[in-house]
């Protein structure tokens, strides 16, 4: 597991946002495409690809993609 893979997996849940928009420091909730459905997709992707369950509350408290990645690492 690397942050680069996670950024790529994370970006795949978006339809129209350009890949270049995603870095570890991206404030993902500020992206125009961000929605409650995308949030659910990210939670499901994390469970499927990384085998851990991140809660919606933990996602709410995360600002950057790195923040989320740190939570996943702490659970593995």
């Amino acid at each position: 597991m690397t942050i680069e893979n996670f950024i790529s997996d994370f970006s795949e849940q978006f339809e129209s946002t350009d890949k270049s928009e995603f870095t570890k420091d991206t404030y993902f909730k500020d992206l125009t495409e961000w929605s409650s459905l995308v949030a659910l997709l990210e939670l499901a992707m994390i469970e499927e690809n990384y085998g851990v369950q991140v809660s919606a509350e933990e996602m709410r408290n995360s600002k950057t993609i790195q923040d989320l990645y740190t939570i996943i690492q702490s659970k593995q």
């Binding site: 659910l40 997709l41 939670l43 499901a44 809660s55």
Partner: protein
């Protein structure tokens, strides 16, 4: 005092009685004079429900009905029934892109297959009295509307409503009635789901004309109506209990 909703001397089996709607239904049924037979997987929580029941003729069985042998064993031990309330259920939030066979099977097994096979086996073993009443818990999701990430749950609850009607027709010759409740969000452990924040639940609550979710006993009282002789001409019906949610 005349009370058409009395359950006096009726023996009612309630699944999923260790929490939520099942727990509340068990307690309220016992208050109306029913002899309650409660089933659940968690012994400690089931015991907590049992301790809250009124009356001396109640029974509790810790069992996992998803295990066929345990189910058949349970049916051997229970008395003849005047009612069944199928309130065991699970909900899994997952976007459609992430569903798979295993997840579908998990949800359908508990929400649909188990209540159906349990009913069928109880009938086969003649443990359901004439004039008995069977109550299924469906949902507004899958019957009236749906929510994002809820496709499998919705499908399972839609299936429950469909079979409620078929069973009502097929069992009418035995004078057994079959009805379903269609609740919306109810204050139970089932909605405290890791996929939603408290903030999102509050936003959802604001969509309800009555500005709150149901209390479990508000679902239980409707179940009691279907179990009681007050509904003796009601079969194959369903009742939406949603604080007006589906009006909009």
């Amino acid at each position: 005092m005349f009370n058409p909703f009395t359950l006096y001397n009726k023996t009612i089996l309630i699944t999923g009685a260790s929490s939520g709607i099942g727990k509340s239904t068990a307690i309220e049924c016992s208050k109306l004079g029913a002899n309650v037979v409660i089933v659940g997987r968690n012994e400690e929580r089931l015991k907590d429900t049992f301790d809250k029941l009124l009356g001396e003729n109640n029974k509790m069985f810790v069992s996992d009905l998803n295990n066929n042998d345990l189910m058949l064993n349970l049916i051997k031990m229970i008395p003849a029934l005047d009612g069944i309330v199928h309130s065991a259920g699970i909900q899994k939030t997952m976007p459609f892109q992430f569903i798979n066979k295993e997840k579908i099977n998990d949800v359908f097994s508990i929400n649909f297959v188990v209540p159906i096979i349990l009913t069928q086996q109880i009938l086969k073993r003649k443990k359901l009295n004439t004039n008995a009443s069977i109550v299924f818990i469906s949902s507004i999701d899958g019957t009236i509307n749906t929510h994002i990430g809820n496709s499998i749950y919705s499908a399972s609850k839609g299936a429950v409503l469909s079979i409620t009607k078929s069973l009502a027709l097929e069992l009418s010759y035995k004078k057994i009635r079959v009805n379903a409740i269609l609740p919306a969000m109810t204050e139970t452990p089932l909605i405290n789901n890791v996929n939603y924040t408290q903030e999102q639940l509050k936003q959802e609550m604001d969509l309800f004309p009555l500005k709150r979710f149901a209390k479990p006993e508000e679902i239980a009282y409707a179940i009691i109506y279907f179990l009681s002789d007050a509904s003796s001409f009601t079969t194959g019906s369903s009742l939406i209990i949603d604080g007006g949610f589906t009006l909009k």
